[in-house]
Protein backbone atom coordinates (compact mmCIF):
# COMPACT_ATOMS: atom_id res chain seq x y z
CA UNK A 1 0.00 0.00 0.00
CA UNK A 2 0.97 3.60 -0.10
CA UNK A 3 3.56 4.77 2.31
CA UNK A 4 2.30 7.51 4.56
CA UNK A 5 5.07 9.79 3.41
CA UNK A 6 4.22 9.48 -0.24
CA UNK A 7 5.12 12.99 -1.41
CA UNK A 8 2.07 13.35 -3.58
CA UNK A 9 -0.25 12.46 -0.73
CA UNK A 10 1.40 14.67 1.80
CA UNK A 11 1.44 17.66 -0.49
CA UNK A 12 -2.17 17.06 -1.28
CA UNK A 13 -2.91 16.88 2.41
CA UNK A 14 -0.87 19.81 3.60
CA UNK A 15 -3.36 22.11 5.18
CA UNK A 16 -3.23 25.83 4.50
CA UNK A 17 -2.09 26.22 8.09
CA UNK A 18 1.03 24.22 7.45
CA UNK A 19 1.86 26.26 4.40
CA UNK A 20 1.47 29.42 6.35
CA UNK A 21 3.63 28.01 9.09
CA UNK A 22 6.32 27.33 6.53
CA UNK A 23 6.21 30.96 5.49
CA UNK A 24 6.68 32.01 9.07
CA UNK A 25 9.62 29.65 9.21
CA UNK A 26 11.36 31.86 6.68
CA UNK A 27 10.84 34.91 8.85
CA UNK A 28 12.23 33.05 11.80
CA UNK A 29 15.54 32.52 10.10
CA UNK A 30 16.19 36.23 10.24
CA UNK A 31 15.82 36.36 14.02
CA UNK A 32 18.74 37.64 16.04
CA UNK A 33 20.91 35.45 18.22
CA UNK A 34 19.85 37.37 21.30
CA UNK A 35 16.37 35.89 21.07
CA UNK A 36 17.96 32.50 20.90
CA UNK A 37 19.86 33.05 24.09
CA UNK A 38 16.68 34.10 25.80
CA UNK A 39 15.00 30.97 24.52
CA UNK A 40 17.80 28.95 25.95
CA UNK A 41 17.25 30.44 29.37
CA UNK A 42 13.52 29.99 29.25
CA UNK A 43 13.94 26.40 28.16
CA UNK A 44 16.18 25.77 31.12
CA UNK A 45 13.65 27.20 33.55
CA UNK A 46 10.80 25.27 31.99
CA UNK A 47 12.71 22.01 32.06
CA UNK A 48 13.94 22.39 35.60
CA UNK A 49 11.01 20.88 37.54
CA UNK A 50 10.81 17.82 35.34
CA UNK A 51 14.55 17.26 35.35
CA UNK A 52 14.80 17.63 39.11
CA UNK A 53 12.09 15.07 39.73
CA UNK A 54 13.56 12.64 37.26
CA UNK A 55 17.10 13.04 38.48
CA UNK A 56 16.10 12.41 42.05
CA UNK A 57 13.68 9.57 41.62
CA UNK A 58 14.87 7.89 38.44
CA UNK A 59 18.41 8.77 37.55
CA UNK A 60 19.89 8.12 40.95
CA UNK A 61 18.04 4.86 41.64
CA UNK A 62 18.69 3.82 38.07
CA UNK A 63 22.41 4.33 38.51
CA UNK A 64 22.23 2.29 41.70
CA UNK A 65 20.33 -0.35 39.78
CA UNK A 66 22.95 -0.54 37.06
CA UNK A 67 25.62 -0.92 39.67
CA UNK A 68 23.59 -3.59 41.43
CA UNK A 69 23.42 -5.50 38.16
CA UNK A 70 27.18 -5.84 38.26
CA UNK A 71 27.40 -7.06 41.83
CA UNK A 72 26.75 -10.49 43.19
CA UNK A 73 24.59 -8.98 45.92
CA UNK A 74 22.10 -11.06 47.76
CA UNK A 75 19.52 -9.55 50.02
CA UNK A 76 21.08 -8.07 53.15
CA UNK A 77 24.64 -8.44 51.91
CA UNK A 78 26.54 -5.97 49.76
CA UNK A 79 28.10 -7.91 46.91
CA UNK A 80 31.41 -7.99 45.11
CA UNK A 81 31.92 -6.48 41.69
CA UNK A 82 31.67 -9.25 39.13
CA UNK A 83 31.38 -7.30 35.88
CA UNK A 84 28.93 -8.72 33.42
CA UNK A 85 28.82 -12.19 34.91
CA UNK A 86 25.18 -11.82 35.88
CA UNK A 87 24.36 -11.12 32.27
CA UNK A 88 26.41 -14.04 31.05
CA UNK A 89 24.60 -16.30 33.45
CA UNK A 90 21.24 -15.04 32.22
CA UNK A 91 22.23 -15.49 28.62
CA UNK A 92 22.68 -19.20 29.20
CA UNK A 93 19.67 -19.54 31.46
CA UNK A 94 17.03 -21.63 29.72
CA UNK A 95 14.21 -19.98 31.68
CA UNK A 96 15.52 -16.55 30.73
CA UNK A 97 15.64 -17.54 27.07
CA UNK A 98 12.08 -18.68 27.33
CA UNK A 99 11.19 -15.45 29.07
CA UNK A 100 12.72 -13.36 26.31
CA UNK A 101 10.83 -15.31 23.70
CA UNK A 102 7.57 -14.94 25.62
CA UNK A 103 8.04 -11.22 26.02
CA UNK A 104 8.54 -10.66 22.31
CA UNK A 105 5.56 -12.75 21.35
CA UNK A 106 3.45 -11.10 24.00
CA UNK A 107 4.39 -7.57 23.01
CA UNK A 108 4.10 -8.12 19.28
CA UNK A 109 0.76 -9.90 19.35
CA UNK A 110 -0.82 -7.70 21.96
CA UNK A 111 0.26 -4.46 20.30
CA UNK A 112 -0.85 -5.56 16.88
CA UNK A 113 -4.25 -6.62 18.16
CA UNK A 114 -4.70 -3.50 20.23
CA UNK A 115 -3.84 -1.26 17.31
CA UNK A 116 -6.05 -2.97 14.78
CA UNK A 117 -8.99 -3.39 17.12
CA UNK A 118 -8.56 0.07 18.55
CA UNK A 119 -8.47 1.57 15.06
CA UNK A 120 -11.55 -0.35 14.09
CA UNK A 121 -13.46 0.80 17.13
CA UNK A 122 -12.32 4.39 16.68
CA UNK A 123 -13.47 4.38 13.06
CA UNK A 124 -16.81 2.92 13.99
CA UNK A 125 -17.36 5.28 16.90
CA UNK A 126 -16.45 8.18 14.67
CA UNK A 127 -19.18 7.14 12.30
CA UNK A 128 -21.78 6.62 14.92
CA UNK A 129 -24.48 9.18 15.40
CA UNK A 130 -26.34 8.30 18.60
CA UNK A 131 -25.04 6.74 21.83
CA UNK A 132 -21.62 8.22 21.28
CA UNK A 133 -21.15 9.60 24.72
CA UNK A 134 -22.32 6.47 26.46
CA UNK A 135 -20.21 4.20 24.30
CA UNK A 136 -17.05 6.21 24.66
CA UNK A 137 -17.39 6.26 28.41
CA UNK A 138 -18.15 2.59 28.68
CA UNK A 139 -15.37 1.59 26.31
CA UNK A 140 -12.95 3.14 28.73
CA UNK A 141 -14.03 0.96 31.63
CA UNK A 142 -11.43 -1.80 31.19
CA UNK A 143 -8.74 0.82 31.21
CA UNK A 144 -9.93 2.33 34.45
CA UNK A 145 -10.31 -0.63 36.79
CA UNK A 146 -7.11 -1.23 38.67
CA UNK A 147 -5.26 -3.86 36.67
CA UNK A 148 -4.80 -6.12 39.62
CA UNK A 149 -8.52 -6.30 40.23
CA UNK A 150 -9.64 -6.73 36.65
CA UNK A 151 -6.99 -9.40 36.21
CA UNK A 152 -8.38 -11.19 39.22
CA UNK A 153 -11.79 -11.06 37.57
CA UNK A 154 -10.30 -12.70 34.50
CA UNK A 155 -8.65 -15.30 36.65
CA UNK A 156 -12.05 -16.12 38.02
CA UNK A 157 -13.53 -16.21 34.52
CA UNK A 158 -10.80 -18.59 33.41
CA UNK A 159 -11.00 -20.85 36.45
CA UNK A 160 -11.18 -24.35 34.98
CA UNK A 161 -13.91 -25.49 37.34
CA UNK A 162 -16.08 -22.39 37.23
CA UNK A 163 -15.20 -20.85 33.89
CA UNK A 164 -17.93 -18.68 32.45
CA UNK A 165 -15.90 -18.51 29.26
CA UNK A 166 -16.15 -22.26 28.88
CA UNK A 167 -19.84 -22.15 29.60
CA UNK A 168 -20.49 -19.59 26.91
CA UNK A 169 -18.34 -21.28 24.29
CA UNK A 170 -19.88 -24.64 25.11
CA UNK A 171 -23.41 -23.35 24.80
CA UNK A 172 -22.58 -21.56 21.57
CA UNK A 173 -21.33 -24.89 20.29
CA UNK A 174 -17.69 -23.90 19.83
CA UNK A 175 -16.24 -26.41 22.25
CA UNK A 176 -17.20 -29.88 23.36
CA UNK A 177 -14.93 -30.20 26.36
CA UNK A 178 -13.63 -27.48 28.60
CA UNK A 179 -10.60 -25.48 27.62
CA UNK A 180 -7.96 -25.00 30.28
CA UNK A 181 -7.32 -21.35 29.53
CA UNK A 182 -4.26 -20.91 31.66
CA UNK A 183 -3.02 -24.51 31.51
CA UNK A 184 -1.52 -25.30 28.12
CA UNK A 185 1.64 -23.48 27.06
CA UNK A 186 -0.06 -21.93 24.04
CA UNK A 187 -3.40 -21.42 25.74
CA UNK A 188 -1.80 -19.64 28.67
CA UNK A 189 0.13 -17.07 26.67
CA UNK A 190 -2.90 -16.56 24.43
CA UNK A 191 -5.11 -15.90 27.41
CA UNK A 192 -2.62 -13.50 28.88
CA UNK A 193 -2.44 -11.64 25.56
CA UNK A 194 -6.22 -11.52 25.36
CA UNK A 195 -6.51 -9.94 28.77
CA UNK A 196 -3.86 -7.41 27.86
CA UNK A 197 -5.70 -6.53 24.65
CA UNK A 198 -8.95 -6.22 26.52
CA UNK A 199 -7.34 -3.83 28.93
CA UNK A 200 -5.30 -1.78 26.51
CA UNK A 201 -7.57 -1.49 23.50
CA UNK A 202 -9.67 1.39 24.89
CA UNK A 203 -6.54 3.52 25.18
CA UNK A 204 -5.97 3.05 21.48
CA UNK A 205 -9.59 3.50 20.54
CA UNK A 206 -10.19 6.70 22.45
CA UNK A 207 -6.95 8.37 21.49
CA UNK A 208 -7.28 7.40 17.85
CA UNK A 209 -10.85 8.62 17.94
CA UNK A 210 -9.66 11.97 19.18
CA UNK A 211 -7.16 11.99 16.36
CA UNK A 212 -9.82 11.07 13.83
CA UNK A 213 -12.00 13.95 14.86
CA UNK A 214 -9.25 16.38 14.02
CA UNK A 215 -9.25 15.27 10.41
CA UNK A 216 -11.08 17.70 8.26
CA UNK A 217 -14.04 15.91 6.64
CA UNK A 218 -13.49 18.00 3.52
CA UNK A 219 -10.43 15.97 2.70
CA UNK A 220 -12.52 12.83 2.74
CA UNK A 221 -15.13 14.37 0.57
CA UNK A 222 -12.52 15.50 -1.86
CA UNK A 223 -11.04 12.04 -1.99
CA UNK A 224 -14.48 10.51 -2.42
CA UNK A 225 -15.22 12.82 -5.31
CA UNK A 226 -11.94 11.74 -6.87
CA UNK A 227 -13.35 8.23 -6.84
CA UNK A 228 -11.42 6.69 -3.96
CA UNK A 229 -13.29 3.85 -2.26
CA UNK A 230 -13.54 3.46 1.48
CA UNK A 231 -10.51 1.21 1.72
CA UNK A 232 -8.36 3.56 -0.34
CA UNK A 233 -9.55 6.57 1.60
CA UNK A 234 -8.55 4.89 4.81
CA UNK A 235 -5.05 4.00 3.65
CA UNK A 236 -4.34 7.17 1.72
CA UNK A 237 -6.06 9.76 3.82
CA UNK A 238 -6.91 8.64 7.32
CA UNK A 239 -3.94 6.42 8.08
CA UNK A 240 -1.22 8.89 7.10
CA UNK A 241 -2.95 11.73 8.89
CA UNK A 242 -3.35 9.62 12.00
CA UNK A 243 0.25 8.48 11.85
CA UNK A 244 1.64 10.86 14.48
CA UNK A 245 -1.04 9.96 17.02
CA UNK A 246 -0.75 6.29 16.18
CA UNK A 247 2.99 6.27 16.64
CA UNK A 248 2.76 7.89 20.04
CA UNK A 249 0.10 5.49 21.21
CA UNK A 250 1.99 2.49 19.89
CA UNK A 251 5.15 3.73 21.46
CA UNK A 252 3.68 3.97 24.92
CA UNK A 253 1.81 0.75 24.57
CA UNK A 254 4.89 -1.17 23.45
CA UNK A 255 6.81 0.04 26.46
CA UNK A 256 4.05 -0.82 28.88
CA UNK A 257 3.37 -4.18 27.37
CA UNK A 258 7.02 -5.10 27.19
CA UNK A 259 7.52 -4.27 30.84
CA UNK A 260 4.19 -5.70 31.97
CA UNK A 261 4.16 -7.20 35.41
CA UNK A 262 0.87 -7.22 37.26
CA UNK A 263 -1.11 -9.12 34.70
CA UNK A 264 1.13 -12.16 34.59
CA UNK A 265 1.94 -11.97 38.28
CA UNK A 266 -1.73 -12.36 39.13
CA UNK A 267 -2.92 -14.58 36.32
CA UNK A 268 -0.28 -17.31 36.07
CA UNK A 269 2.77 -16.38 38.12
CA UNK A 270 4.78 -17.23 35.00
CA UNK A 271 3.52 -20.81 34.82
CA UNK A 272 2.80 -23.38 33.61
CA UNK A 273 6.44 -24.36 33.15
CA UNK A 274 7.51 -20.73 32.59
CA UNK A 275 5.44 -20.41 29.45
CA UNK A 276 4.12 -17.00 30.43
CA UNK A 277 7.08 -15.47 32.24
CA UNK A 278 7.90 -11.96 31.06
CA UNK A 279 11.08 -10.00 31.76
CA UNK A 280 9.53 -8.18 34.67
CA UNK A 281 8.00 -11.20 36.34
CA UNK A 282 11.11 -13.31 35.94
CA UNK A 283 13.34 -10.51 37.17
CA UNK A 284 11.04 -10.16 40.14
CA UNK A 285 11.19 -13.87 40.78
CA UNK A 286 14.98 -13.90 40.75
CA UNK A 287 15.41 -10.73 42.73
CA UNK A 288 12.68 -11.10 45.31
CA UNK A 289 11.83 -14.77 45.55
CA UNK A 290 15.40 -16.03 45.47
CA UNK A 291 16.97 -12.93 46.98
CA UNK A 292 19.62 -12.58 44.28
CA UNK A 293 19.34 -8.86 43.94
CA UNK A 294 22.28 -8.47 41.59
CA UNK A 295 21.01 -11.06 39.19
CA UNK A 296 17.46 -9.74 39.47
CA UNK A 297 18.66 -6.25 38.63
CA UNK A 298 20.52 -7.64 35.65
CA UNK A 299 17.40 -9.42 34.45
CA UNK A 300 15.41 -6.21 34.80
CA UNK A 301 18.06 -4.30 32.94
CA UNK A 302 18.21 -6.87 30.18
CA UNK A 303 14.98 -5.52 28.78
CA UNK A 304 16.34 -2.02 28.71
CA UNK A 305 18.54 -2.12 25.60
CA UNK A 306 15.83 -3.89 23.65
CA UNK A 307 13.26 -1.31 24.60
CA UNK A 308 15.77 1.39 23.91
CA UNK A 309 16.31 0.21 20.35
CA UNK A 310 12.61 -0.15 19.68
CA UNK A 311 11.98 3.30 21.06
CA UNK A 312 14.85 4.90 19.16
CA UNK A 313 13.45 3.46 16.00
CA UNK A 314 9.98 4.75 16.76
CA UNK A 315 11.23 8.18 17.75
CA UNK A 316 13.22 8.38 14.58
CA UNK A 317 10.14 7.37 12.66
CA UNK A 318 7.98 9.95 14.40
CA UNK A 319 10.49 12.72 13.73
CA UNK A 320 10.88 11.67 10.15
CA UNK A 321 7.11 11.83 9.77
CA UNK A 322 7.16 15.35 11.10
CA UNK A 323 9.91 16.33 8.71
CA UNK A 324 7.93 14.86 5.83
CA UNK A 325 4.99 17.04 6.62
CA UNK A 326 7.01 20.08 5.80
CA UNK A 327 7.27 21.65 9.25
CA UNK A 328 10.41 23.12 10.77
Amino acid sequence: MNRPTDPVTSTALASPAVTRAALFGLTRLRRSTRTERREWLLAFVLLLPALTMLALFVAYPFARGIRLGMLDSVVGREGQFIGIQNYIKLWYDSIFQRTAQNTFIYTACATFLKLSLGMLVALMLNNLIGFKRLLRASMLLPWIVPTVLSTLAWKWMFDPTFSIVNWILYHLGFIQVRVDWLGGPVAAITSVILVNVWRGMPFFAITLLAGLQTINPDIHEAAAIDGANAWQRFWRVTWPLLMPVTMVVVLFSVIQTFADFQLVYILTGGGPANSTHLFATYAYQIGIATGKLGEGAAASLAMFPVLFLVVLFQLWYIRRGEGGKGGA
Binding site: L120, P146, N166, W167
Partner: protein, 285 residues
Protein backbone atom coordinates in the same frame (compact mmCIF):
# COMPACT_ATOMS: atom_id res chain seq x y z
CA UNK B 1 -14.00 7.60 8.43
CA UNK B 2 -16.33 6.94 5.63
CA UNK B 3 -16.04 3.17 5.49
CA UNK B 4 -19.75 3.00 5.84
CA UNK B 5 -22.23 4.46 3.47
CA UNK B 6 -25.15 5.95 5.25
CA UNK B 7 -28.35 4.06 5.84
CA UNK B 8 -29.69 0.64 5.15
CA UNK B 9 -28.46 -2.83 5.86
CA UNK B 10 -24.88 -1.91 5.07
CA UNK B 11 -24.80 0.33 8.06
CA UNK B 12 -26.05 -2.47 10.21
CA UNK B 13 -23.62 -4.93 8.76
CA UNK B 14 -20.54 -2.77 8.83
CA UNK B 15 -21.22 -0.62 11.83
CA UNK B 16 -23.82 -1.64 14.35
CA UNK B 17 -23.20 -5.37 14.43
CA UNK B 18 -19.41 -5.36 14.78
CA UNK B 19 -19.45 -2.40 17.11
CA UNK B 20 -22.12 -4.06 19.20
CA UNK B 21 -20.09 -7.26 19.34
CA UNK B 22 -16.95 -5.46 20.43
CA UNK B 23 -18.80 -3.43 23.02
CA UNK B 24 -20.38 -6.55 24.45
CA UNK B 25 -17.03 -8.32 24.61
CA UNK B 26 -15.41 -5.33 26.24
CA UNK B 27 -18.08 -4.87 28.80
CA UNK B 28 -18.85 -8.46 29.55
CA UNK B 29 -16.18 -8.82 32.25
CA UNK B 30 -17.78 -5.87 34.00
CA UNK B 31 -21.15 -7.38 33.83
CA UNK B 32 -19.69 -10.55 35.23
CA UNK B 33 -17.97 -8.64 37.99
CA UNK B 34 -21.26 -7.00 38.85
CA UNK B 35 -23.12 -10.29 38.93
CA UNK B 36 -20.41 -11.89 41.03
CA UNK B 37 -20.49 -8.98 43.41
CA UNK B 38 -24.16 -9.56 44.20
CA UNK B 39 -24.14 -13.35 43.93
CA UNK B 40 -24.58 -15.22 47.19
CA UNK B 41 -21.44 -17.09 48.16
CA UNK B 42 -23.00 -20.52 47.85
CA UNK B 43 -23.77 -20.05 44.19
CA UNK B 44 -20.11 -19.49 43.50
CA UNK B 45 -19.46 -23.13 44.25
CA UNK B 46 -21.38 -24.42 41.26
CA UNK B 47 -19.11 -25.76 38.49
CA UNK B 48 -19.71 -24.48 34.99
CA UNK B 49 -20.91 -27.79 33.62
CA UNK B 50 -23.72 -28.24 36.13
CA UNK B 51 -27.23 -27.59 34.87
CA UNK B 52 -27.89 -25.07 37.64
CA UNK B 53 -24.87 -22.92 36.72
CA UNK B 54 -26.52 -19.58 36.03
CA UNK B 55 -23.80 -17.30 34.73
CA UNK B 56 -25.75 -14.25 33.74
CA UNK B 57 -27.98 -13.66 36.68
CA UNK B 58 -28.67 -14.67 40.20
CA UNK B 59 -32.09 -15.23 41.66
CA UNK B 60 -31.07 -14.22 45.14
CA UNK B 61 -28.98 -11.10 44.77
CA UNK B 62 -27.30 -9.97 47.94
CA UNK B 63 -25.44 -6.94 49.12
CA UNK B 64 -23.46 -8.87 51.71
CA UNK B 65 -20.23 -8.55 49.76
CA UNK B 66 -20.51 -4.79 49.62
CA UNK B 67 -21.44 -4.68 53.27
CA UNK B 68 -18.40 -6.77 54.09
CA UNK B 69 -16.20 -4.49 52.04
CA UNK B 70 -17.21 -1.46 54.04
CA UNK B 71 -17.68 -3.09 57.39
CA UNK B 72 -14.64 -5.34 57.54
CA UNK B 73 -12.13 -3.50 55.41
CA UNK B 74 -11.10 0.11 55.12
CA UNK B 75 -12.33 0.32 51.57
CA UNK B 76 -13.74 3.84 51.83
CA UNK B 77 -10.45 5.02 53.22
CA UNK B 78 -8.48 3.32 50.47
CA UNK B 79 -10.69 4.96 47.89
CA UNK B 80 -9.91 8.37 49.33
CA UNK B 81 -6.19 7.59 49.54
CA UNK B 82 -6.06 6.37 45.97
CA UNK B 83 -7.90 9.42 44.73
CA UNK B 84 -5.68 11.80 46.63
CA UNK B 85 -2.47 10.13 45.51
CA UNK B 86 -3.58 9.85 41.91
CA UNK B 87 -4.76 13.47 41.75
CA UNK B 88 -1.64 14.88 43.35
CA UNK B 89 0.80 12.89 41.30
CA UNK B 90 -1.14 13.66 38.13
CA UNK B 91 -1.09 17.35 38.99
CA UNK B 92 2.65 17.38 39.61
CA UNK B 93 3.33 15.41 36.48
CA UNK B 94 1.15 17.61 34.32
CA UNK B 95 2.85 20.72 35.62
CA UNK B 96 6.34 19.39 35.03
CA UNK B 97 5.42 17.68 31.78
CA UNK B 98 3.64 20.67 30.30
CA UNK B 99 6.52 23.05 30.86
CA UNK B 100 9.10 20.57 29.71
CA UNK B 101 7.09 19.67 26.65
CA UNK B 102 6.72 23.27 25.63
CA UNK B 103 10.43 23.84 25.94
CA UNK B 104 11.24 20.75 23.96
CA UNK B 105 8.67 21.31 21.26
CA UNK B 106 8.99 25.03 20.76
CA UNK B 107 12.28 26.42 21.98
CA UNK B 108 15.64 26.05 20.38
CA UNK B 109 18.52 25.33 22.63
CA UNK B 110 21.59 23.16 22.59
CA UNK B 111 21.06 19.48 23.31
CA UNK B 112 17.29 19.90 23.07
CA UNK B 113 16.80 16.69 21.13
CA UNK B 114 19.08 14.74 23.43
CA UNK B 115 17.25 16.01 26.50
CA UNK B 116 13.93 15.05 24.99
CA UNK B 117 15.18 11.55 24.33
CA UNK B 118 16.71 11.51 27.79
CA UNK B 119 13.41 12.30 29.45
CA UNK B 120 11.74 9.70 27.40
CA UNK B 121 14.30 7.07 28.27
CA UNK B 122 13.47 7.40 31.95
CA UNK B 123 10.09 5.97 31.04
CA UNK B 124 11.83 2.80 29.97
CA UNK B 125 13.49 2.12 33.26
CA UNK B 126 11.67 -0.89 34.64
CA UNK B 127 9.86 -0.50 37.95
CA UNK B 128 11.02 -3.91 39.05
CA UNK B 129 14.56 -2.50 38.98
CA UNK B 130 13.75 0.81 40.60
CA UNK B 131 11.73 -0.12 43.60
CA UNK B 132 14.58 -1.34 45.76
CA UNK B 133 16.94 1.64 45.30
CA UNK B 134 13.92 3.93 45.49
CA UNK B 135 13.19 2.48 48.88
CA UNK B 136 16.46 4.00 50.12
CA UNK B 137 15.57 7.39 48.66
CA UNK B 138 12.16 7.24 50.30
CA UNK B 139 13.75 6.38 53.61
CA UNK B 140 16.30 9.18 53.47
CA UNK B 141 13.51 11.66 52.84
CA UNK B 142 11.56 10.06 55.68
CA UNK B 143 8.57 9.53 53.44
CA UNK B 144 7.94 5.86 54.21
CA UNK B 145 4.33 4.98 54.90
CA UNK B 146 3.03 8.39 53.83
CA UNK B 147 1.09 9.19 50.68
CA UNK B 148 4.01 11.38 49.63
CA UNK B 149 6.12 8.32 49.03
CA UNK B 150 3.83 7.57 46.11
CA UNK B 151 2.95 11.11 45.12
CA UNK B 152 6.61 11.83 44.51
CA UNK B 153 7.56 8.54 42.90
CA UNK B 154 4.64 8.11 40.54
CA UNK B 155 5.71 11.16 38.52
CA UNK B 156 8.81 9.19 37.56
CA UNK B 157 6.75 7.27 35.06
CA UNK B 158 4.13 9.96 34.53
CA UNK B 159 6.37 12.89 33.59
CA UNK B 160 7.98 11.24 30.57
CA UNK B 161 4.55 10.16 29.46
CA UNK B 162 2.98 13.60 29.86
CA UNK B 163 5.97 15.34 28.30
CA UNK B 164 5.89 13.24 25.21
CA UNK B 165 2.18 13.32 24.76
CA UNK B 166 2.18 17.10 25.14
CA UNK B 167 5.10 17.54 22.78
CA UNK B 168 3.04 15.76 20.18
CA UNK B 169 0.14 18.10 20.71
CA UNK B 170 2.22 21.25 20.78
CA UNK B 171 3.65 20.27 17.45
CA UNK B 172 0.19 20.05 15.94
CA UNK B 173 -0.54 23.62 17.01
CA UNK B 174 0.59 25.99 14.26
CA UNK B 175 3.45 28.21 15.40
CA UNK B 176 1.75 31.11 13.72
CA UNK B 177 -0.72 31.27 16.58
CA UNK B 178 1.79 32.37 19.16
CA UNK B 179 3.92 34.21 16.68
CA UNK B 180 0.93 36.36 15.86
CA UNK B 181 0.50 37.01 19.56
CA UNK B 182 4.15 37.91 19.90
CA UNK B 183 3.91 40.27 17.01
CA UNK B 184 0.99 41.84 18.87
CA UNK B 185 3.35 42.50 21.73
CA UNK B 186 2.95 39.51 24.04
CA UNK B 187 6.05 37.97 25.58
CA UNK B 188 6.94 34.43 24.85
CA UNK B 189 5.76 33.31 28.27
CA UNK B 190 2.45 35.11 27.87
CA UNK B 191 1.95 33.60 24.48
CA UNK B 192 2.63 30.21 25.94
CA UNK B 193 0.25 30.51 28.85
CA UNK B 194 -2.54 32.45 27.18
CA UNK B 195 -2.47 31.12 23.67
CA UNK B 196 -0.80 27.76 23.49
CA UNK B 197 -1.98 26.11 26.70
CA UNK B 198 -5.70 26.76 26.11
CA UNK B 199 -5.39 25.43 22.60
CA UNK B 200 -3.55 22.45 23.95
CA UNK B 201 -6.31 21.74 26.47
CA UNK B 202 -7.42 18.49 24.84
CA UNK B 203 -3.86 17.28 24.95
CA UNK B 204 -3.52 18.28 28.57
CA UNK B 205 -6.77 16.55 29.40
CA UNK B 206 -5.80 13.37 27.67
CA UNK B 207 -2.38 13.36 29.29
CA UNK B 208 -4.09 13.96 32.61
CA UNK B 209 -6.57 11.17 32.10
CA UNK B 210 -3.93 8.66 31.29
CA UNK B 211 -1.56 9.79 33.98
CA UNK B 212 -4.40 9.48 36.45
CA UNK B 213 -5.15 5.98 35.27
CA UNK B 214 -1.54 4.90 35.56
CA UNK B 215 -1.31 6.08 39.14
CA UNK B 216 -4.70 4.62 39.93
CA UNK B 217 -3.38 1.25 38.82
CA UNK B 218 0.04 1.18 40.33
CA UNK B 219 0.80 -1.81 42.49
CA UNK B 220 4.46 -2.45 43.32
CA UNK B 221 5.40 0.93 44.78
CA UNK B 222 2.17 1.04 46.73
CA UNK B 223 2.88 -2.41 48.09
CA UNK B 224 6.44 -1.63 49.09
CA UNK B 225 6.30 1.95 50.33
CA UNK B 226 3.13 1.82 52.42
CA UNK B 227 2.52 -0.33 55.43
CA UNK B 228 -0.39 1.01 57.46
CA UNK B 229 -3.79 -0.23 56.48
CA UNK B 230 -5.02 3.33 56.72
CA UNK B 231 -2.54 4.46 54.08
CA UNK B 232 -3.07 1.76 51.47
CA UNK B 233 -4.47 2.21 48.01
CA UNK B 234 -7.30 0.21 46.50
CA UNK B 235 -5.30 -2.33 44.48
CA UNK B 236 -3.01 -3.24 47.36
CA UNK B 237 -5.66 -3.00 50.03
CA UNK B 238 -8.26 -5.09 48.30
CA UNK B 239 -5.86 -7.79 47.18
CA UNK B 240 -4.10 -8.24 50.47
CA UNK B 241 -7.28 -8.18 52.48
CA UNK B 242 -9.43 -10.40 50.32
CA UNK B 243 -7.04 -13.07 49.14
CA UNK B 244 -6.57 -15.01 52.33
CA UNK B 245 -4.15 -17.89 52.22
CA UNK B 246 -5.68 -20.33 49.79
CA UNK B 247 -9.10 -18.70 49.73
CA UNK B 248 -10.21 -15.93 47.42
CA UNK B 249 -13.18 -13.90 48.52
CA UNK B 250 -14.52 -13.47 45.03
CA UNK B 251 -17.68 -11.59 45.96
CA UNK B 252 -16.01 -8.78 47.90
CA UNK B 253 -13.09 -8.75 45.46
CA UNK B 254 -15.42 -8.08 42.56
CA UNK B 255 -17.43 -5.62 44.60
CA UNK B 256 -14.18 -3.80 45.32
CA UNK B 257 -13.15 -3.84 41.68
CA UNK B 258 -16.48 -2.43 40.69
CA UNK B 259 -16.60 0.28 43.31
CA UNK B 260 -13.00 1.11 42.56
CA UNK B 261 -13.79 1.89 38.95
CA UNK B 262 -17.34 3.12 38.61
CA UNK B 263 -16.90 6.54 40.24
CA UNK B 264 -13.85 7.17 38.13
CA UNK B 265 -15.64 5.96 35.05
CA UNK B 266 -18.30 8.52 35.75
CA UNK B 267 -15.78 11.36 35.94
CA UNK B 268 -14.10 10.07 32.83
CA UNK B 269 -17.32 9.96 30.88
CA UNK B 270 -17.46 13.69 31.38
CA UNK B 271 -13.82 14.33 30.60
CA UNK B 272 -13.67 12.11 27.58
CA UNK B 273 -16.42 14.14 26.05
CA UNK B 274 -14.53 17.33 26.81
CA UNK B 275 -11.39 15.84 25.48
CA UNK B 276 -12.78 14.77 22.17
CA UNK B 277 -14.88 17.84 21.56
CA UNK B 278 -12.20 20.23 22.74
CA UNK B 279 -9.84 18.66 20.29
CA UNK B 280 -12.31 18.92 17.46
CA UNK B 281 -12.96 22.53 18.35
CA UNK B 282 -9.29 23.34 18.51
CA UNK B 283 -8.76 22.18 15.00
CA UNK B 284 -11.75 23.89 13.54
CA UNK B 285 -11.03 27.15 15.28
Amino acid sequence: MAAVSSGGWRRWFYLYLPLGAIVILTLFPFYYMAVTAVRPDREMYIPWNRPNFAPFWTLRPTLEHFALLFRETLFARWLVNTLFIALMSTGISLFCGLLAAYALARLRFPLGGALGTGIFVTYLVPQTLLFLPLGEVIRSFRLGDTPWALILTYPTFLIPFCTWLMMGYFRTIPRELEECAQIDGATRLQAMVRIVFPVAMPGILSAGIFAFTLSWNEFIYALVFLSSATQKTIPVGVVSELVRGDTFFWGPLMAGALLGSVPVAFIYSFFVEQYVSAMTGAVKG
